[in-house]
Symmetry: D2
Subunit: 139 residues, 4 copies
């Protein structure tokens, strides 16, 4: 099955209004798809809750996308997210956008997430609970 090596998978319908004047889904929407999977990943590992409770949260520091196939409405995409590398105060996330209609990958990308203390306004080591939750989810 496609994306079965991604622990987080989200289904999103391709909307007519996501297309631009070239008649294809605009490039910015690919990053919105990535965000859907990233937020779902953060929810799953308790990162959104930790940010609300203790002010320890993620910052998206870098992101990139390689566009492999143009997308168009009507279609549905499945967006996968996984963590490929964990550092002291950061981790790297990989994304894949699967077009159900075309039965192929439409885009792949990465994001660099940095651990931040929003109350102290400084980078901090990745909280242990987050590190453990990532390890468990990726196992």
């Amino acid at each position: 099955m496609p994306l079965d090596d991604f622990p987080i998978r989200c289904e999103v319908p391709v909307l007519w209004g996501d297309m631009d004047a070239f008649g294809h889904v605009n490039n910015t929407v690919f990053f919105k798809y990535f965000e859907v999977a990233r937020i779902a990943y953060f929810d799953r590992i308790g990162y959104q809750a930790l940010m609300a409770d203790e002010g320890l949260g993620p910052i998206l520091a870098e992101t990139s996308c390689r566009f492999r196939r143009p997308l168009a409405h009507p279609d549905t995409v499945v967006v996968g997210a996984r963590v490929s590398e964990v550092g002291e105060d950061r981790f790297t996330m990989q994304y894949r956008i699967w077009s159900v209609g075309q039965d192929t990958t439409a885009g792949i990308g990465e994001g660099l997430i940095v651990s931040y203390d929003y109350r102290g306004n400084k980078r901090v080591p990745l909280p242990a609970s987050i590190r453990d939750a990532i390890a468990a989810l990726e196992a």
Copy 2:
């Protein structure tokens, strides 16, 4: 001069990415233009500050738009906002979108704004300072 009967006027460039697959600025973007002028109006009368300080703020309860001309990139629009009617706990705002390139009105609309106490979670009479600021701005 166009829009000189609107106390708030905001200039916004029409972006290529605001166009949809029909090659015109998407209808939802007209409401984004309205929002630009509405927020500028709220800033001017101190409504954003009052909401941050005391939790007394506006709710957009209804809005509408009549599309008069299609818009396309490249162009610049000027968006005007004015208050046409003030009630006990609400007021009506009128909007006009002027296309600089076409030298004509591209859209007109309205919004109904309701006064809300975000801490008490209930409708409240329009704060006197807001009522006075609207009267002064519209004079």
Copy 3:
């Protein structure tokens, strides 16, 4: 069942990125939801195909929304569309946005659709095939 008096119903996930700085789904996204159902309706009655083939298509001339409940991620909405009135060269569409998570209506709205000849650049009577397809779908 909610929306069972709407012949067209579309399910759309509420994305985190659809929320604005107030923490609720932005007002412009309600109009994007309407568009999802409107385009699905047009597809069903063959209006998109007629536009591609003969240049006879719809123009959204007016639209409006009443916001009943704020929406937030995570949630799913179901958007319904139906035609309430058909005129010589126009028809009125009604929309309803149902929040699955809140089990209630989040917004209702209308759109005025005008029949247009994109090759002749003028309003034209509603094509008979479209009029018939609407009648059949609404029966």
Copy 4:
């Protein structure tokens, strides 16, 4: 002056509605800013016209962004674009987003543009007129 080493510079107001639930301009909007400068660059070198006339146009194959500072309304950004490398059938564009309010760089990025024959549906060498126009603009 900031961005004076970018031949294309576009000014864009930061809209309130560009902010997400974290209260900062959403990451996807940085790519929309890049697009503003990219399209302006394409217009200047005649690439949009060549695509309309002969079907020879650009494809955005990859793009990336490093987020240096969060952006918020009210502010204005200036977005710069320049071409850093030209290959046989592709070129690399660099972008920089300058925050006027913060007087500093908010984001930097790149895009890989591939030359495409939209009628023949295949990659083609970069048209000579485009290659020359880039060289002249970057001189």
